[in-house]
């Protein structure tokens, strides 16, 4: 247990009021946060901590800041020092570029009127989605909320299906019936896509409950499926979040709660809405590790994700991961985004995760500029193709309006032969034996 989160700089036990031992009292801390919270402020503060290093033998560990022990700027050619292999690096790069290009194309299409309603774009947060989802298997579940296009893409839903869904065409992943905020895919185990924040958290907890149930009650010994729930900072003030932290820890469910803390809930700053803005601290209050990580760095996110997903897979229970990240665009395409400080935006724009990964890959000689450019071009083609496909797809026919309300519309159930019982002519005579 003490080896968990090895690259952690500071460790604190749950229950102890870490704030006291940490230097500035909370009031001053929030003062500092209110003036800055530019990410780097964290490291500066925690650098002055008392020497409570890792090696704590407590079973539940709360972690303050995951600091990589190796700086990313290394021109060493020894790949054993690097955190990722070439294939992994290219995979991560491609996934993030896919997310970014897709979202940029969404903005274009929206302003041309091809997409409508509420569209929430993920630009800037790609490191979180890629960092976590690329470590999952197909059978693992992802549950998200309305900012879900990139979660869908990372999980494996094709760009064509997502784009068509956004255009409201019948070839979309939900036949045009869900829309931007309701991406579902049974094949890829993407369980939504919810407009209500906080709604996905109990759903994710239920999927984790199912994994555990299948292993213990249905005796499927190899069922170690993990669920990852993505939600934002605003959601962390919602009651359902706490209800599920409690039950997930209580029943040791295989789930990872990932907070994409981009500091803003539409126009409400996280600091104005939350009594204690350090969300990772809420994990230990319920008996699970709480980890804070720099969400603009995909490699750091991936390290934390490996450990958290590993914990869940081994049956050690849930983890709360707070990823400090930022959305480059407004809350949605209808948001004028007037309340955010341009200096703050500039600060995070300089920490663009794709640029950072590209730099790492090039400096570590994992791949050449040409290979990365080839990936860019490939993604551009995929997106162009997706748009053409969506454009050419038909709109849903009138008959589709009343379809899919029920899995079993007639209400008599499905007989063992797989057909609706009401279609069996003998059924209504009352002599049907199914």
């Amino acid at each position: 247990m003490s080896a968990a989160f090895p690259s952690v700089r500071a460790v604190c036990r749950p229950g102890s009021f870490a704030g006291e031992k940490r230097g500035p009292p909370p009031a001053a801390a929030s003062g500092k946060l209110a003036s800055g919270f530019l990410g780097s402020a964290w490291k500066l503060r925690f650098g002055a901590l008392p020497a409570r290093r890792r090696g704590s033998s407590s079973v539940v560990v709360a972690v303050s800041d995951v600091v990589k022990e190796k700086k990313p700027k290394r021109s060493s050619s020894s790949s054993s020092d690097l955190l990722i292999t070439k294939e992994e690096g290219l995979e991560l790069y491609e996934d993030m570029v896919l997310g970014r290009t897709f979202e940029d194309m969404c903005a274009q299409m929206y302003y041309r009127g091809k997409m409508f309603g509420f569209v929430h774009l993920y630009n800037g947060q790609e490191a979180v989605s890629t960092g976590f989802i690329k470590l999952l298997k197909q059978e693992d579940c992802v549950v998200s909320h309305y900012r879900d296009h990139v979660h869908a893409l990372s999980k494996g839903v094709s760009a064509r299906a997502v784009m068509s869904e956004l255009f409201g065409k019948t070839t979309g992943c939900c036949r045009g019936q869900g829309g931007s905020m309701h991406m579902f895919s049974k094949e890829h185990n993407l369980l939504g896509g919810f407009a209500f924040i906080g709604e996905g958290i109990p759903i994710a907890t239920g999927a984790a409950f199912t994994s555990k149930y299948r292993r213990e009650v249905l005796k499927e010994a190899d069922c170690d499926h993990v669920t990852v729930a993505f939600f934002g900072d605003g959601t962390c003030n919602n009651g359902q979040f706490y209800e599920c932290l409690n039950m997930a820890a209580l029943w040791k469910l295989p789930i990872v709660f990932v907070v994409e803390n981009n500091l803003w809930a539409i126009g409400m700053s996280h600091l104005r809405a939350t009594s204690d803005p350090q969300i990772w601290k809420k994990g230990p209050a319920f008996g699970m590790p709480g980890v804070h990580v720099d969400g603009m760095d995909v490699l750091k996110v991936r390290e934390v994700a490996k450990e958290a997903i590993g914990r869940a897979r081994r049956g050690e229970g849930p983890t709360l991961v707070e990823c400090e990240t930022y959305r480059f665009r407004g809350h949605s395409l209808a948001d004028p985004d007037e309340l955010r400080d341009p200096a703050e935006k500039a600060h995070y724009a300089a920490r663009d995760p794709i640029v950072a990964l590209k730099k790492y890959i090039l400096e570590s000689n994992l791949a050449s500029e040409a290979e990365l450019k080839a990936i860019d071009k490939k993604i551009d083609e995929i997106i162009e193709d997706a748009v053409e496909f969506a454009d050419a797809s038909p709109i849903p026919p009138r008959s589709q309006l009343l379809e899919n309300v029920f899995a079993d519309p007639k209400g008599f159930g499905i007989g063992p032969d797989g057909r609706y019982r009401c279609e069996d002519p003998k059924f209504t005579e009352g002599t049907a034996h199914v």
């Binding site: 579940c141 549950v143 992943c173 939900c174 036949r175 045009g176 019936q177 869900g178 829309g179 309701h182 579902f184 895919s185 049974k186 185990n189 369980l191 939504g192 896509g193 919810f194 407009a195 209500f196 709604e199 958290i201 109990p202 759903i203 994710a204 907890t205 239920g206 999927a207 984790a208 409950f209 199912t210 994994s211 149930y213 299948r214 009650v217 009651g239 359902q240 209800e243 599920c244 409690n246 039950m247 209580l250 379809e403 899919n404 309300v405 029920f406 899995a407 079993d408 007639k410 209400g411 008599f412 159930g413 499905i414 063992p416 019982r421 209504t428 009352g430 049907a432 034996h433 199914v434």
Partner: protein
């Protein structure tokens, strides 16, 4: 083997023309025996509604390991109303899950488990508490099959007592049939007798869609005769079919849940005055069995709807409109609806009695509809 069973004896007794008219009405009570035996040709034993629910859940959980029960006090306490008595030792704590008091949380967990392949039965201590979870019932359960275009179906059952009990006050007494009945994507059931409870709960658990199963606290202890067929473990009732509890030709009375009992007693009183009432037990609030109700009204030409819930936007209003749409020309009198009073449920015993439909109200309404001169009861 699953089989939906009919009262063959009863069906044979009642004329075949009705069956052909409706083209598929499955269960009919035997009119001749209606008065005493409530229409069961071979009443073998008696069972309370609570025992019926317990046995139905027991059989379904034994048959399918994916079915599990989740709710407050369902395990060690054996159910807040003892519906899950004996389950914890039999099925174990993984399948009979005692939850903390977190309706939104555990209902969402149930829905998530249904998304991912299990078949949860979520028990609410009363449906009043389900209001804390209604976001999950509507938004993540009812709407999901549609939003995902069939990708994700939600085979979940939400069950618990609904409607007024005795002296429990305003926040414990609301009837939610109309609220849930207006939502596409849900199936809403309201059993009356033990056989109804058994058959409908089994059908609900086997159904691949979200079902809201509205029980009634005061009915749990009521004893009903149960036929041998109903005791069979593959017995289930079809969802979306109403049942004619008592045949008549002068006025149709529709009711569900506890009000069926009151309507049957009112029908007894009316029979002595020469008015034969046809009492329909709706069983299924959504989908509403419009064909059965319409066929009955076309026969009797008069309708009284009875429900316990609030009057505005209630189940009776929906039935009234469905008759106007389908059988307006057959009506000989305006439709009357008997509902609970348009107030939050008061506590005082006499006020509570005034706030709920009583047998006299149903009798008076039936007489008014039959144009026997009876003054209107005081409103509110």
């Amino acid at each position: 083997m699953l089989s939906v069973l009919r009262r063959k004896a009863a069906a044979a007794a009642v004329g075949g023309s009705d069956a052909m008219l409706l083209g598929g009405r499955l269960r009919k009570s035997c009119a001749a025996a209606a008065a005493g035996l409530r229409g069961y040709a071979t009443a073998a034993k008696e069972m309370t509604v609570r025992e019926a629910l317990n046995s139905a859940l027991d059989e379904e959980m034994s048959a399918d390991p994916k079915v599990f029960l989740m709710g407050e006090e369902v395990g060690e306490y054996q159910g807040a109303y003892k519906v899950s008595k004996g389950f914890l030792p039999k099925f174990g704590p993984e399948r009979v899950v005692d939850t903390p008091i977190t309706e939104a949380g555990f209902t969402g967990i149930g829905v998530g488990a249904a998304y991912y392949g299990l078949k949860p039965v979520v028990e609410f201590m009363t449906f009043n508490f389900a209001m804390q979870a209604i976001d999950h019932i509507i938004n993540s359960a009812a709407k999901t099959n549609y939003m995902s275009a069939g990708n994700i179906s939600v085979p979940i059952v939400f069950r618990g007592p609904n409607g007024a009990a005795a002296g429990v006050g305003a926040q414990h007494s609301q009837c939610y049939a109309a609220w849930y009945g207006s939502c596409p994507g849900l199936k809403v059931l309201a059993p009356y007798s033990s056989e109804d409870a058994r058959g409908l709960l089994k059908a609900a658990i086997r159904d691949p869609d979200p079902v809201v199963f509205l029980e009634n606290e005061l009915m749990y202890g009521e004893r009903f005769p149960v036929s041998a067929e109903a005791l069979d473990s593959s017995f289930c009732l079809p969802i979306g079919k109403a049942k004619i509890e008592r045949e008549g030709k002068d006025v149709t009375i529709t009711a569900f849940s506890k009000m069926v009992g009151l309507s049957l007693e009112a029908a007894e009183i009316l029979a002595k005055e020469g008015i034969t009432a046809e009492v329909i037990n709706l069983l299924s609030i959504r989908p509403l069995d419009r064909p059965t109700i319409n066929a009955s009204v076309r026969k009797t030409n008069r309708l009284v709807t009875v429900e316990e819930g609030f009057p505005q936007h209630g189940v009776g209003a929906e039935i009234c409109m469905s008759i106007i749409e389908d059988s307006f020309g057959y009506l000989d009198a305006p439709i009357e609806r008997i509902t609970g009073a348009d107030v939050p449920m008061p506590y005082a015993a006499n006020l509570e009695r005034m706030a709920l439909p009583q047998i006299e109200d149903i009798v008076r309404a039936a007489k008014r509809v039959c144009h026997r001169s009876v003054p209107m009861a005081a409103t509110a």
